[in-house]
């Protein structure tokens, strides 16, 4: 029995770490991967200067692709001895000053001592450019610039960094490769004319396959299955180990703590049993329905991995297998409306106010309202109702403010109105009628008269 417990725990840990940290393997997109691979290889080994953009929606695997290419290349001595990787991220290096300091430190230039860079911004830029100019194609190391969130670099002042990087790539200086990664498809239009002219217009698009549900089923299977001994051997041969020397860059952390299946051991019997179970799941019609509905929403791999992570997280000794029910529950959660859930947690008074707002919007075609209007509408009904009589104004105001804090209502934008007293500030309802109706239907302890009032605005 303790053995079985161990197996489940191991499986869970294995699957989780594979879902999260397996950045060095990438499947599909052979042509695009080869393209990037050749580009980087030619830069490092033939001293060619290049620039390229990798484009694709968020979660399609742009970073993973680059990381997996680098994992393959960095294992080769001819590559890592002849190249420097400079990793810049538009969200971290928010202006050229920071980006330059980081680049200088990562290239370990003369004005950087132990990762600290000296001199002003202007000096750093001048020095970096001088260094690159002093280099030449045949003798100096190639520098690979990875610019993640490339679109943010376009908003820097004058686009100085981009201009200079692209300019170096297009002149006889040290060989560099500028690889931008972004989700914006129209990023080229953000570039200034002279920057655009210097960019080589190599755009590599990473787009998911059209209408490929079978691919999704395969992905589901491959992400949840445990590897057999044969597959492990294949993994070893396709994932050569990267020498420490090649990873000395402290900023480039993507290849640290990579997933290694050899850290986990399973009995071959358990593996066979688990895999058989997963195969059965994939063939199950109900599972397929859930997966199809998820696929209809989102075809990307990244978000799907996160959903599977949730599924795997539930495994323990009492529940050693992924069941059809848990997948269905996942599907239900995926499709459920969070705002309706939030509405269902409101008090009856707050719900009444929401209903009053709904009636107001219906009658006046979504005109904004203030507290007084809602109070009047609520008061009319409350006076005739049996349970809501005699609620005092401050209590209602408090409820109104609670609704505002939950952002069911928001101030109608109009800057000058902020000095108006809070009872007279105008608001808009941020809910659809359908959502309110659903919440009223599902709320269990709501008095009947309230749900009746929801049906019709006549009092």
């Amino acid at each position: 029995m303790p053995n079985a417990k161990n197996d489940v725990e191991n499986t869970r840990r294995f699957l989780k770490s594979r879902l999260l940290t397996d950045r060095a393997s990438f499947h599909g997109y052979e042509a695009e991967r080869q393209n990037i691979h050749d580009l980087l290889e030619r830069t490092a080994e033939h001293g060619e200067s290049n620039s390229a953009l990798l484009l694709g929606p968020r979660g399609v695997g742009k970073t993973t692709l680059v990381t997996s290419v680098l994992a393959e290349l960095l294992a080769k001595e001819t590559f890592y001895r002849n190249s420097l990787i400079v990793y810049l991220n538009g969200l971290i290096h928010i202006d050229d000053r920071l980006a330059l300091k980081s680049a200088t430190a990562q290239m370990n230039l003369e004005n950087a001592v132990d990762g600290k860079v000296f001199g002003s911004f202007a000096e750093n830029l001048a020095f970096l450019l001088e260094c690159l100019k002093a280099g030449d194609r045949k003798k100096s190391k190639s520098v690979i610039f990875l610019l993640e969130e490339f679109d943010f670099f376009c908003s820097h002042h004058n686009q100085t960094l981009l201009y200079n990087l692209f300019d170096v790539a297009q002149s006889a200086q040290a060989p560099i490769c500028v690889l931008g990664i972004t989700a914006r498809l129209d990023v080229i239009e953000l570039l200034e004319k002279r920057v655009k002219s210097r960019f080589s217009h190599r755009q590599i698009f990473l787009l998911p396959n059209e209408d490929d549900f079978d691919g999704r089923l395969e992905l589901f299977e491959s992400l949840l299955k445990l590897p057999t001994e044969q597959e492990l051997r294949k993994f070893d041969s396709t994932h050569p180990s990267i020498p420490d020397e090649a990873l000395s860059n402290e900023e480039f952390t993507l290849l640290r703590n990579l997933f290694n299946p050899r850290q986990f051991t399973f009995g071959p019997k358990w593996v066979a049993q688990w895999n058989r179970h997963i195969e059965k799941l994939v063939e199950n019609d109900e599972v397929q329905t859930v997966l199809q509905r998820m696929y209809d929403y989102d075809v990307l791999e990244g978000p799907f991995r996160i959903l599977l992570f949730e599924l795997v997280g539930e495994l323990d000794e009492e529940k050693p297998n992924i069941t059809v029910e848990s997948i269905q529950l996942l599907g239900e959660n995926y499709e459920s409306d969070d705002k309706v859930k939030l509405l269902m947690g409101l008090s009856v008074l707050e719900m009444c106010l929401i209903i009053a707002m709904k009636h107001h919007s219906e009658i006046y075609d979504r005109e904004p309202f203030n507290f007084e209007m809602i109070l009047t509408r609520f008061g009319k009904w409350a006076n005739s109702s049996s349970s809501m009589k005699g609620i005092e104004r401050p209590v209602v105001l408090k409820a109104f403010e609670h609704l505002k804090q939950l952002e069911f209502i928001a101030l109608a934008t109009g800057g000058s109105l902020s000095k108006v007293q809070k009872e007279y500030q105008i608001h808009r309802l941020l809910l659809t009628n359908g959502q309110i109706h659903q919440a009223v239907q599902r709320m269990q302890l709501l008095p009947t008269e309230v749900s009746q009032w929801e049906q019709s605005s006549l009092v």
Binding site: F121, A126, F127, D186, L207, S336
Partner: protein, 478 residues
């Protein structure tokens, strides 16, 4: 050992020190390597240090890192004095020449491989040459303004002229002259121009005020044996700030008889002096101007063929196709060369697969052109999920209904409900629909406001409705 005192003060446990050491792990590791026998008190910090010690130290000389502060300060001083020459790390072994013909073609087609004489720019070359040669001969100052869209050979021609003049002056056919070049885009702010000019004259880096004073002194005072200075200012428009003092000074010095300064300015727009510069500055810039026209297809073809002279790996029709396509869009020589280079790569791939010699043909060029000119918006829509497609359809429906480009989420959502009912799928709830909207915005198929406005956010289609219809023709849902 002697290195000990430098390291020990850092060891007392204070928050500031710990932070510093953690952010700067390399120094700790090096200290550990250099002093393997530590005195006892340092043992207390075992939990922190072992982590660091496993990390390899970078291959700089060990001694330079030990006394980091004084060393770096003196180093910075040496850099500012120009004693330390900027270098980049060298390869383990220098590269040999590639034997492959396609690789050779690719190397020659690289934008950086500027030929010694630029084809199709003979007239402009002549003009700049005459201007500069005349000014250098006469020992007077002057200005010239060169304009043209990017990639038309402005900087390449000018530097080629200067290279030729240098050659002549070395052989003592014309007087000696200094050459300085600055580029507006390589400066962090306009005033850094003084620093760069001064550095190229003396090799020292100063603050801009000092550099300005020294330059002013140099150009305004008379010196008996002054040589002519040629100053090339690239990207002139970046040097223009509100006060325009930098541009004024750079263009004012040539007017002084003492300066013997010839300024050649390069920018993109033809009417920059009138549009951006103050009256007194455009007056100083003078009327010696030269405009580089975009290349037409014949010229582009000639440029590419000149680079490929003596090679048989390129089909000449293929070059013509590139030239015509590029000339129709921008007349940018860089673009034509890049497309040709990409075509050689594609041919190379094919050669590798089939294992036989391949020349770059029409198909390769066609493929390279589609890769580098087309946008992938239609493909993106086709590859997006069904709900996203439905949402886009709803947006176009709402645009058609209201007749206004801009629509709000609420309207789109009600269209979405109708469309979903029509095609028999379950309606995504508003939260999910908003997620879809955000995803489409992230790849800029749609443009929309931030999420704070919730169901009142405005949505704008970033592509034409025709494109959406075209992309969704094959979709199963509609």
């Amino acid at each position: 050992s002697a290195l000990q005192p430098a390291g020990t003060p850092k060891r007392n446990i204070q928050l500031s020190n710990i932070i510093e050491e953690c952010s700067n792990g390399r120094r700790v590791s090096r200290l550990l390597e250099l002093s393997p026998k530590k005195p006892q008190p340092e043992q207390m910090e075992e939990p922190k240090t072992p982590k660091r010690s496993t990390r390899p130290s970078l291959g700089t000389t060990g001694s330079s890192a030990t006394k980091s502060t004084p060393k770096s300060a003196s180093k910075m001083k040496l850099i500012r004095d120009g004693t330390i020459k900027p270098t980049i790390h060298a390869r383990s072994a220098p590269l040999g020449d590639g034997a492959n013909e396609l690789a050779l073609a690719r190397e020659r087609l690289h934008v950086s491989a500027t030929p010694s004489s630029l084809p199709c720019r003979e007239k402009e070359y002549e003009e700049i040459y005459n201007f500069l040669e005349g000014k250098i001969f006469d020992g007077v100052g002057g200005c010239m303004y060169i304009s043209g869209v990017p990639g038309t050979g402005k900087t390449a021609t000018t530097t080629a002229v200067i290279r030729a003049l240098r050659h002549l002056s070395e052989e003592e056919h014309i007087p000696k002259f200094d050459f300085i070049d600055i580029n507006g885009m390589r400066l962090t702010e306009p005033r850094q121009a003084y620093v760069h000019i001064h550095r190229q004259l003396t090799g020292k880096t100063l603050a801009w005020e000092q550099a300005y004073n020294l330059l002013n002194k140099r150009f305004t005072t008379k010196a008996p044996r002054r040589t002519t200075t040629v100053l090339l200012v690239d990207e002139l428009d970046i040097l223009c700030n509100k006060r325009q003092d930098v541009v004024y000074n750079i263009l004012n010095w040539p007017t002084l008889a003492t300066a013997q300064l010839i300024v050649v300015t390069i920018a993109n727009t033809m009417d920059l002096p009138e549009r951006l510069l103050m009256g007194k500055i455009s007056s100083r810039l003078g009327l010696t101007r030269l405009t580089f026209q975009p290349y037409n297809f014949r010229q582009l073809q000639e440029i590419v063929m000149a680079r490929l002279a003596g090679m048989s790996s390129f089909n000449s029709d293929a070059v013509q196709l590139v030239a015509r396509k590029v000339a129709a869009v921008s007349g940018d020589a860089r673009r034509a060369l890049d497309i040709c280079r990409r075509a050689t790569e594609l041919a190379d791939d094919q050669a590798r697969q089939t294992g036989e010699q391949v020349t770059v043909s029409m198909t390769h060029v066609q493929q390279a052109l589609t890769e580098m000119i087309t946008s992938a918006k239609v493909r993106t829509i086709r590859s997006s999920s069904r709900m996203e497609q439905l949402f886009l359809q709803a947006v176009t429906a709402e645009v058609t209904r209201t007749g206004i480009e801009e629509c709000n989420f609420l309207g789109v959502y009600s269209q979405l409900e109708a469309l979903a009912a029509f095609s028999g799928v379950s309606v995504p709830n508003p939260g999910r629909a908003m997620g879809i909207c955000a995803r489409l915005t992230a790849s800029r198929i749609l443009i929309c406001e931030g999420g704070r406005n919730d169901i009142f956010q405005k949505i704008l289609l970033n592509i034409s409705t025709d494109d959406v219809h075209f992309a969704l023709q094959a979709s199963k849902l509609l």
